[in-house]
Symmetry: C2
Subunit: 95 residues, 2 copies
Amino acid sequence: MPTIHEKHAAVFKAFCDEKRLAIITMLHKGERCACELQEYLPIGQSTLSHHMKILCDSGVVVGRREGKWIYYSISRQGSEYAVELLKQLTAVSPD
Amino acid sequence: MPTIHEKHAAVFKAFCDEKRLAIITMLHKGERCACELQEYLPIGQSTLSHHMKILCDSGVVVGRREGKWIYYSISRQGSEYAVELLKQLTAVSPD
DNA sequence: ACCTCATATCTAATATTTTCGATATATTGA
DNA sequence: TCAATATATCGAAAATATTAGATATGAGGT
């Protein structure tokens, strides 16, 4: 059973790796399937799949299957959650 | 020379480790010196120092020396930067 | 100057993450 | 059903992060 800190850490794992930030940046303009992402990244297919899993686990990215392809995009809901969580984590109690 | 993604990743490294989240949580109520933090965490002195360095490098935490002690606290400016950066990173272009 | 205490740095061990190649699964089309 | 394509999972190697103990630095007091 993961602790609350572990769950929170999983959200920000999305953003603490260079390659994943590159992937997120590529999703700014909208949905991209894995093969498109791979085309622009110097990593193998299984490595990309591993990063996509971490991104999806964080909730910040979601995948949508369409036939053989999976289209990934930034989740508005997941992103908002991450921002709210970050605000909470860095809030200082007024005293 | 670090890439832009590496610099951004450094900000979120603060939040992707359980122990660091525990430290940040301890700073919610205000300044704490390293010895106070260590008292409540099951880690050695050098390990705490290592984590404090990562937290300070992220900009989210700042240290203030007072005599022999260093008082750490959450940086309002650093936190706001992190929140804004997160918003930018997860922004989706309206098209 | 010396001693003490708080924190940082160094070094090495261990743990975790990233990566790749091979294989498995899932979907489509023939 | 079989072949082809996209993605996931497995297993192992390489890279990186975390950790602890030893030592160094820095500040205050004697």
